[in-house]
């Protein structure tokens, strides 16, 4: 990774794909959308995929013999193949379960695998920088099963203490669950090294890819992840859809987590058998248009180019990092600028994150203020909240200038 001198993207042209970027938040105040780690904006062709479904072939999947149902079923099923290809899963649809989001993917594995496989004496190794989606889920499943949760600590510069990871991942470890790219520190973790460490101890590894899949090429097989999860709404797709990748033999061995229609093969009053992968894990009518649009979003980011998106984020992030660092009293969390993902979380001395965010809103700047679903991490950092500016393929350095102006405005008011 190096700091880019220039963006490889034609951002002006790309911005035209996102009509929302033209809006103002108040008269004469254009929107500067820097809350991409929470949710990215949606390009026209992804919205069109949803509209087209509803206008042209809206119907239930897997059920009808009629034309519409056939078209919907094929599009929805092929969307699984497309998402599998997108993250390098050679098992195609059988290794991709559509979920509501990353959070549901964690719950699926925690219930379907964790409840059955974990017990006293087992450890689940997480990191101090986990999102609540994984942290709370494993914590609660551990309480139910008697397993113990352990946390790999972070070092001064916000990277994982890999020596400690080596000590914690041991014979007792049943699951290692790590975030690929941190949604607060911007740290990109050495997930394939951690996968090796887990596998040496016969443990599984679950990688939270919510902040990685949208902005870099990800190959779940190269990582050798056992499970990998991500959300559509953070990668130019719609809300209500996400994916769980799981190695086929693991998914096959797991019991369903939700019961009902679509997920069964044969049902009698006394018993039922389960449908094939991945449908066994998709009970009830799924988010059909969202699933189809999810695949369209994968096409979109692939067309823009994930390498280029990554380089562009570095280009914008490095600038934001440098400009923020020049301001008095700004503390930035996480690793140095050339070793981080596309976001900067920070605080300004003497100004609470919520006050700063209220003032930035006057400048049209949308940032996240709070604990970003990482309360324990904020305890470790010793702050109740932080401001996070997170970037995507359509953000510019000029927009960063507006952020800086807003922070300076807040400093003027408060000091």
């Amino acid at each position: 990774m190096g700091t880019q001198e220039q963006s490889p993207l034609d951002v002006e042209a790309l911005r035209a794909d996102f009509p929302i970027l033209e809006r103002e938040v108040a008269d004469g105040v254009p929107l500067v959308y820097f809350d991409n780690a929470a949710t990215t904006q949606t390009p026209t062709r992804v919205v069109d995929a949803i509209t087209e479904y509803y206008y042209e072939y809206n119907s239930n999947v897997h059920r009808g013999i009629h034309q519409l149902s056939q078209e919907a079923s094929i599009a929805y099923e092929e969307a699984h193949d497309r998402i599998a290809e997108f993250v390098g899963a050679s098992g195609e649809r059988e290794e991709i379960v559509f979920t509501k989001n990353t959070t549901e993917a964690f719950n699926l594995v925690a219930y379907a695998w964790g409840l059955n496989e974990l017990g006293e004496g087992d450890t689940v190794v997480l990191t101090e920088m986990e999102h609540h989606a994984s942290l709370v889920t494993w914590q609660q499943i551990a309480k139910k099963t008697g397993a113990t949760v352990e946390y790999v600590p972070i070092t001064e510069d916000g990277t994982l203490d890999m020596n400690a990871a080596g000590d914690l991942i041991d014979d007792d470890t049943a699951m290692v669950s790590v975030v690929h790219a941190s949604n607060v520190l911007g740290t990109v973790n050495p997930v394939s090294e951690l996968a090796d460490m887990a596998h040496e101890q016969d443990a599984l590894i679950f990688v939270d890819g919510a902040q990685a899949v949208p902005n870099r090429p990800v190959d779940v097989e190269a990582i050798d992840a056992d499970f990998y999860a991500f959300s559509g709404h953070k990668m130019a797709g719609p809300t209500g859809i996400g994916a769980l990748y799981g190695k086929r033999h693991l998914l096959e061995a797991m019991d369903p987590y939700l019961y009902g229609g679509e997920m069964i093969k044969k049902v009698t009053y006394d018993d039922a058998t389960w449908n094939d992968l991945p449908w066994k894990f998709e009970a009830g009518t799924p988010s059909i248009s969202e699933g189809i649009a999810f695949a369209e979003a994968a096409d979109y980011v692939d067309d823009v180019g994930l390498e280029r998106i990554n380089a562009h984020e570095e280009y914008v992030t490095a600038y934001a990092y440098d400009e923020l660092s020049k301001l008095d009293g700004v503390e930035i969390y996480g690793p140095p600028k050339d070793e981080r993902g596309g976001l900067v979380a920070f605080n300004v001395e003497g100004i609470h994150a919520h006050d700063l965010s209220s003032i930035l809103n006057d400048y049209g700047v949308a940032v996240r203020a709070g604990d970003h679903c990482t309360q324990p991490l904020h305890d470790t950092l010793g702050v109740p909240a932080s401001i996070r500016a997170s970037f995507y393929l359509y953000n510019t350095r000029e927009e960063v200038d507006t952020l800086i102006e807003g922070v300076e405005g807040a400093i003027d008011i408060f000091h």
Binding site: H354, D355, S358, L360, A369, F414
Partner: protein, 141 residues
Amino acid sequence: MSMGSDMYRQQILDHYRNPRNHGELDDPTFSHEGFNPSCGDELEFDVELADDGETVENVAFHGDGCAISQASASLLSQELPGMTLDEIDDLDRDDVLDLLGVEVTPMRIKCAVLAEKVVQDGADIYRGEKELEATSTEDDE
């Protein structure tokens, strides 16, 4: 259109930087704390009642959080001495917003009303009308 910056008038910044009645009481009649989970604001109020058991004689508060939550606590703490518990119960959010004297943007109302809720819950618990560990702004509405 209310602007976020408009909230940060001199009075609010002054109370944020130099909170009145800040600290703890040696011998409070009751104490109560509260949180605003979405922001991480925290406030604890100590209240000392006069011998009549219903009129506030002294208050002190401490806490941590945004300017709006801390300034509204400071402003409220100046109003409380001399008020009865019934009068405290009758306070509503407009009273606190009036004290602040600025237009609070919708997302920040919770910060503004935390102090009032903490004092009211504290009074109710003291009178045995409520059971509660700590006040949370997520519990209302």
